[in-house]
């Protein structure tokens, strides 16, 4: 494969602050058992790319724990494979994709590799992109840059030659440009630009609201079918969870549920991650409940996003709205008394 990959996992999204207190945007849990970065990594692997540099920024412990040596994506190779390349983000970080300052810190990743083309992508867009097809179209176009667009939205994924990328990294300061995204948006001369039209499902996750909407999209059969393809699976770090138990008297309707959970109460229009316990008499509607969280007896929740390890005490009533879902941060402990 002639493609080298950069996954820019350093970008912070202010709108996602509640979910990224202790993790990168790349490691935000999504769709019951995944992390956002799984989609970029799986697309790369499914497109035959086997040299992948992940460029994260702090706090990166959760991302490192998730990716490890890349085994889940078959990127634990003797030759090539996964490179974990943290960036220090001097000047507080750049919020556009493919920051040259960040890439410069690991210039060797580019100079030592043999692939002639580079794909620069991000970890906050959920897609089923075929980079192989994109590379072919890029080469045919003869342009310097190819950018992915879908229905007028930029998906912030680019292909360019490695030679050009290295040149840009070495000269960005004098040229007054900060990132690959920046060059493409400014349509800098003398470069030529091409667009690659993507037609499948996509979601740009840059706020709690877009996160909530994209999650709810997955309850739609058509959208789900566009994202989870049998021949291009989304890979993730597997946990060994037992089957999910549906106890007698439980009520589940339109829900995406991961393994290892126990459902006694009612779950409607919701996403439930691994190892969640929804107890007797609890009502969970239009919610996202993440890994190892507990919803105690007789709770009544709607439009709530409960991050990992959240404990919602008995009888707690929390109602958000579709536009403003309530976020319970990782490890939060909510009781009826707190809400009075």
């Amino acid at each position: 494969m002639k493609l080298l990959a950069v996954v820019d996992a350093s970008i912070k999204k202010e709108g996602l602050q509640d979910l990224t207190m202790k993790r990168t945007v790349a490691s935000v849990p999504f769709a019951g058992r995944y992390r956002l970065i799984d989609f970029a990594l799986s697309n790369l692997v499914n497109s035959g790319v086997s040299t992948v540099g992940v460029f994260p920024s702090y706090p990166l412990a959760s991302l490192l724990d998730h990716i490890g040596v890349g085994k889940s994506w078959d990127l634990d190779r003797r030759k090539n494979g996964l490179y974990f390349l943290p960036v220090t983000q001097r000047d507080g970080g750049i919020s556009s994709v493919g920051s040259f300052a960040g890439l410069e810190e690991h210039l060797q990743f580019f100079t030592k590799s043999i692939q002639p083309h580079v794909i620069v992508t991000n970890s906050f867009v959920v897609t089923q992109l075929n980079y192989k097809d994109m590379l072919e179209k890029h080469i045919i176009s003869g342009a310097d840059f190819t950018e992915v667009v879908s229905k007028g939205v930029q998906l912030k994924t680019y292909i360019l030659s490695k030679e050009l990328l290295v040149e840009l990294i070495q000269t960005y300061a004098e040229n007054q440009i900060v990132s690959v995204e920046d060059v493409v948006n400014l349509k800098k001369s003398p470069y030529t630009f091409n667009e690659y039209e993507y037609e499948g499902y996509f979601a740009v996750i840059d706020s709690v609201q877009s996160y909530f909407e994209a999650s709810m999209d997955l309850l739609n059969e058509d959208k789900r079918a566009q994202l989870f393809l049998g021949n291009r699976p989304i890979f993730t770090k597997v946990k060994d969870e037992p089957p999910t138990r549906y106890v007698s008297g439980s009520h589940v309707e339109r829900a995406l549920i991961a393994n290892g959970s126990t459902i006694v109460g009612s779950v409607v229009n919701s996403l439930i991650s691994r190892g969640v316990y929804v107890k007797k008499g609890a009502r969970v509607e239009n919610c996202i409940i993440m890994q190892k969280s507990t919803v105690e007896e007789n709770c009544d929740l709607s439009y709530v996003i409960a991050d990992k390890d959240v404990y919602i005490g008995e009888g707690v009533v929390l109602h958000g709205t579709p536009d403003r879902p309530i976020v319970l941060r990782k490890g939060a402990n909510v009781s009826k008394e707190d809400l009075r």
Partner: protein, 382 residues
């Protein structure tokens, strides 16, 4: 563990009473409990008991088992020293030697055992569902100063004649073996789990190998000979869930036991996890028309029908207007619209046709086959 223990897991059995379920896979590879295979239980017991060297003896249809176990990663048995070693029969200078009995299987891997240099050898069977701390068993063996310890389970008296019964004295010394006795004198059944002091075992395996009268079986030959010779043979009383899933009925029962919180078989116990290989599949989906009660469901399923008291494996699609109860639906199965299944085991990748119902089922547990589907079609034509 202090003194080195090596486990030899006998996984070569066919399990012919499981009918078409084991035509193409060995019994230990049989899928169980929604996402496991039977062999996950003894392998996970080894990991949880701190046993780090496990030999898996295979013979009948070994391919699935070999590729499933691989390097042993899911059970943390991918070790630099020890770990899991697959031991199929092999050819040697004197010709090909199949494993003719459980003892001959272990005897033929005597070089493997010698290279491990164990103090104790644990003999396990790959076709039982149970959770057991082998460390406690080995400690008991050591405390008793036994040459061999046989793990036994109290079974209901009325069922005792179905098992290999062990008669013991008050000190738990084994006095007599009684294979499926008509009038049992005890209700202690052998679980097929033994600990041997390696030196003794080696001695007896070597003698058994040259004995032309022998059937080379632990239960029939090695243990009776050891008893005749007055070796110290002790029974270890195991308490807990144990089931030999040797027949279609007992296989179904064991699956149903998973749904009964009082059965003693709890997969959700984080203190004694049963590990398994995990495929990359999206979470399960329960649709608007789906209704799941008292059941277990796994990754990749899409449920739009009514499911009660059932074990649903991975990647199962259950369409609208279906009714599934007290059934075991294995991975990759599609149950088409309007089908009704009660007490049915559906083998992997099976397509249950639209409107299907078992013909003349009565109270029986049915293992679904193409013939069953034919029978149903014929009745429809009549």
């Amino acid at each position: 563990m202090n003194n080195k223990v090596v486990a030899m897991l006998l996984a070569g059995g066919q399990g012919s009473r499981l009918k078409s379920l084991t035509y193409t896979i060995a019994k230990p590879a049989l899928p169980f409990g929604g996402k496991y295979r039977i062999i996950d239980f003894p392998l996970s017991n080894c990991t949880n008991s701190g046993i780090e060297t496990v030999g898996v003896l295979t013979q009948y249809q070994p391919h699935v088992l070999h590729s499933y176990i691989g390097l042993g990663t899911p059970w943390d048995l991918d070790r630099r020293n020890g770990g899991v070693t697959m031991l199929p029969p092999y050819a040697e200078i004197d010709g090909n030697k199949w494993y003719s009995g459980t003892a001959s299987a272990v005897y033929q891997n005597i070089t493997f055992l010698q290279s491990c240099d164990p103090e104790y050898v644990l003999i396990l069977s790959g076709d039982h569902i149970y959770k057991m701390d082998y460390e406690v068993l080995v400690d008991y063996h050591k405390e008793q100063g036994a040459d061999v310890t046989i793990s036994v389970l109290e079974v209901p008296w009325e069922e005792a004649s179905r098992f290999g019964i062990i008669n013991v004295n008050e000190q738990m010394t084994v006095m007599e073996f009684d294979e499926k006795p008509e009038n049992p004198k005890s209700n202690l059944a052998s679980m097929g789990v033994y600990v041997f002091t390696w030196k003794k075992l080696k001695e007896y395996l070597e003698a058994d190998n040259i004995n032309e009268e022998s059937s080379h079986d632990f239960g029939n030959d090695i243990l009776p000979t050891m008893m005749e010779n007055g070796e110290k043979m002790i029974a270890y009383p195991f308490k807990g869930y144990w089931k030999d899933v040797g027949t279609v009925d007992s296989f179904w029962e064991a699956n149903m036991d998973l749904l009964d919180l009082n059965s003693g078989l709890n997969l959700h116990d984080s203190g004694w996890r049963i590990y398994s290989s995990n495929p990359q599949l999206p979470p399960q989906v329960i649709n608007k028309t789906g209704n799941v009660q008292s059941s277990m469901v796994n990754e990749g399923c899409v449920i739009s029908g009514e499911v009660t008291k059932s074990i649903i494996f991975q990647k199962v699609v259950i369409k609208e207007e279906t009714v599934v109860s007290e059934s075991v639906i294995m991975s990759g199965v599609t149950i088409h619209k309007g089908a009704k299944l009660h007490r049915v085991i559906v083998p992997p990748e099976f397509e249950v046709p639209e409107g299907f119902e078992v013909v003349d089922q009565g109270d029986k547990v049915i293992l679904l086959t193409d013939e069953e589907v034919e029978k149903w079609k014929e009745r429809g034509e009549r």
